[in-house]
Symmetry: C2
Subunit: 501 residues, 2 copies
């Protein structure tokens, strides 16, 4: 007997980790695999990814970004060209050393990201500033042999993502694009997944290896009080273009070649895990309604042992009419017409799987030309006329989306504290909050904050240290003239600190 036949038994508020595992396994979103840190994306989660992909792809196409595909293998030689970059990824590289029965002369690595694969081609292709900007994106999987604990969707050894790589003639244009992409990531989270995010810049320590700076959107998981990096957009400046010799003939009379300005940016299937963690409850998954594979499920109610075949047929035909109406719209509807299980079992089945709307149809509904719509997020029930069922469903989807977003936003705001001294910050962090504080922004100070917020019992780490999630663009604290929250030197910014995934 398979696990999916049982509901969620762990509580979100008591044992978050077990609860999360049950939600994704029993909600049939994901399954484990016999290689640790690798996970199977089942259709329900893959559908969410395909919705994200389709929205993101249509936007970047309008920006002139073109789809491409580069090999998954990378040679040692190219990996070694950018030292900071190599340092970041080296410990996680998976190496192919043998093919069939033969040892390879030179081992090759699987891509952990594709800068070192793509930029030699940029170098080869680009001749003149007239060929800029060059904007490419690919959808693929990458492999990072994480030694830290893996967590489905959130941290896997292999995961799906998109990686965009662009090259510009002018630094300013590149920087504008990096910001435009960040806004697009925010849109994906807020408008598709109903997840509020904080936009900001990463600290020096958290900047991508080889980048000039890194922008990110950060989400908050209230169940654990942790922040989570939701997507990143890196402005590389000329760091990579100098290492990979990506230069063009410059405009005008200048004889010199110029090195291009570059960005890269990525969004991963972690986004799905974030949405699951934020929205789901003790009944199981609550799917953001715009991305759900099934948005509404029809269930017949009130059929009893003494219901005649004729009555059953009438009710069934009524439901089929409702179904036909809905199918003519863009709403994704499913009729659960299984005759070997009860309505109650069906309710549990679809609640566990997060289907946003349930359409209950009983004899009384039929007599009145109505249907009862039950929302997954708050279990509220409303009667609607079948004549306007499509509008009612569309409205329910939009309202549910807004309500889910507002709830998550309120929760985050409630749990975002301000501190100006270290002890206050530590208290807030230990109460599962994230904290805005004035900061000197140095890497050394960030290390120290990590150390000072680590909780140990008998020498074992029981609560990991905090770090800066980002330096938000919209900061609540005016840091000017204030002291750093930890080292007491002059504050350079207001940072958002938190424990994190």
């Amino acid at each position: 007997m398979s696990t999916q036949q049982f509901g969620i038994v762990a509580k979100k508020e008591c044992n978050f980790h077990d609860w999360y595992t049950q939600v994704i396994l029993r909600g049939e979103l994901l399954d484990y695999y016999d290689i640790r840190g690798c996970f199977i994306m089942r259709p329900a989660s893959m559908f969410i990814w395909s919705q994200i992909r389709s929205m993101f792809e249509s936007h970047i196409q309008k920006m002139g970004v073109q789809e491409c595909y580069f090999p998954m293998l990378v040679s040692k030689k190219n990996l070694e060209l950018e030292k900071n970059h190599l340092e970041n990824f080296n410990p996680e590289l998976a190496w192919i050393t043998k093919c069939g029965e033969k040892d390879l002369e030179e081992p090759v690595a699987i891509r952990p990201t594709s800068e070192t694969i793509i930029y030699p081609a940029f170098s080869k292709w680009l001749g003149s500033y007239r060929e800029l900007p060059l904007k490419l994106n690919q959808w693929c999987s990458v492999l990072r042999w994480e030694v830290k604990s893996t967590l489905p969707f959130i941290r896997g050894r292999e995961f799906l993502w998109q990686e965009g790589h662009t090259a510009y003639h002018k630094k300013n244009d590149a920087e504008n694009e990096a910001m435009e992409i960040l806004n697009l990531y925010s849109k994906v989270y807020e408008e598709l997944l109903a997840v509020p995010v904080v936009k900001g810049k990463k600290s020096k320590k958290e900047t991508f290896g080889g980048a000039e700076y890194t922008l990110s959107v950060e989400a908050f998981i209230s169940g654990t009080g942790k922040g989570v990096q939701a997507a990143t957009s890196h402005h590389l400046g000329q760091n990579f273009s100098k290492m990979f010799n990506i230069s063009v003939d410059d405009e005008g009379d200048r004889q010199d070649r110029m090195f291009v300005y570059q960005n890269c940016w990525g969004l991963t299937t972690r986004s799905i895990g974030i949405a699951i963690m934020i929205h789901s409850d003790n009944r199981g998954f609550v799917c953001p309604p715009r991305v759900s594979q099934i948005q509404a499920v029809v269930v017949l109610c009130g059929i009893k042992a003494n219901t005649t075949q004729e009555e059953k047929t009438r009710l069934n035909n009524y439901a089929l009419d409702v179904l036909e109406k809905i199918k003519k719209s863009n709403i994704r509807v499913h009729f659960d017409d299984r005759d070997n299980i009860s309505p109650g079992y069906k309710f549990n089945h679809w609640e566990l799987r997060g289907v946003p709307l349930r359409i209950e149809i009983g004899f009384k509904d039929m007599e009145k030309g109505e249907a009862c719509i039950v929302r997954r997020d708050n279990l509220s029930k409303m009667q609607y006329k079948v004549a306007n069922i499509v509008d009612s469903l569309q409205e329910s989807i939009d309202t549910m989306h807004k309500d889910m977003f507002s709830k998550a936003l309120q929760e985050r705001e409630k749990r975002t504290k301000i501190a100006t001294d270290f002890e206050t910050m530590l208290g807030h962090l230990n109460d599962k909050n994230i904290v805005l504080a004035p900061w000197c922004s140095s890497a050394q100070c960030e290390d120290e904050i990590g150390e000072r917020t680590t909780v140990r019992e008998n020498g074992e780490v029981t609560l990991m240290g905090a770090k800066s999630l980002c330096i938000p663009f919209e900061a609540a604290v005016d840091y000017k003239g204030m002291c750093c929250i930890s080292c007491s030197s002059d504050a350079q910014c207001c940072a958002l600190f938190g424990r994190s995934y």
Copy 2:
């Protein structure tokens, strides 16, 4: 200076291999990479793949197939479960043995295909016949460390594909699906790529390891006289379900578990190579018009040194009006408004890249409210009224598609010969034909045919042996009562033989 600035210098009819390489490199469809057998898919070819993906995906969705994603890594233990299957893929497996600085306890392989990754999950998930059919598909890349010579698109170490994996309660339903998918593959080739294919069944020797039988579509490359396998749909029977213990509670009173009936089916980026080889000419790529990233390119003509700025502006505005009209339709149009190069250079540029239609706009066209449309495949020119330009372009696209298909079909028919004795067959093969012949269909006889058709000079193979491409569903030869083309035992079928990729 980059290679794409030069046209094609090799001739398709003289040196097919060099010609093909120049078409794909200089047409900016693909680039080489510093690991042999791995290729970069540039936007122009990736666009074709995205069109194929979108058509195929929408069809299989209607069939109830759901998208999923399984890990790219596979353990030795699972690989070894199906012996025939392992035997096929073992010599080509790439093994990861080291991660970061550490050796793995147990090496893992990169998927060459995913049966051994997916079927353990089928075994775990399926409980009752009521959960059937289960229909999954994934889009991903696979890795096969080919030792044979690699060829861009046609035979790469890594390539993109879709792989469908389905499980059924009834053998008959599974077999119908295998055929439905074969018809869909045929549709992709014929309706998108303008490539005619032969549908048939593979011989025993050519059947997929572990399958009960393999269906395929086969294309013909007239430039080399070779056949090429274009896509395959395998009915696995219960072979894999028995090895992986994929069983369900059967319907009715029967107490026994039953093993499910399975199919798997795949289409790869080889399809793009096939289309390129068939349609392109000595000017470069000829893109099938329905899948081209740019379907029509606008080029201004007749601007001379003494043309006034006012005249230039008028012509440019006229072109922009035409462009706006077209952009309101679904036709993908591009305005080449570069002012630093001549119309002639632009013509060559877009011909090399295979753009199906060129819209030339000069002063005379403007005065008459017309534009001149030039077809890439036959360079024919036609004047059209701008008022109906969208209809004219759509018609040109459809006509060009049909003409390209017909030309390829006629070529294949002309080069498909019938033989009833071996010497005749050999003559036809050596004249770059494919041959229909009565056949006993045994694996041993197929080996012998391969041997007897291999051409050697001084012990070196100069022309590889022929094999059966497929046993076509629609056979031209009534084989009953005839002798096998090679071994003279009773013929069991009419097979299509050819040298092949």
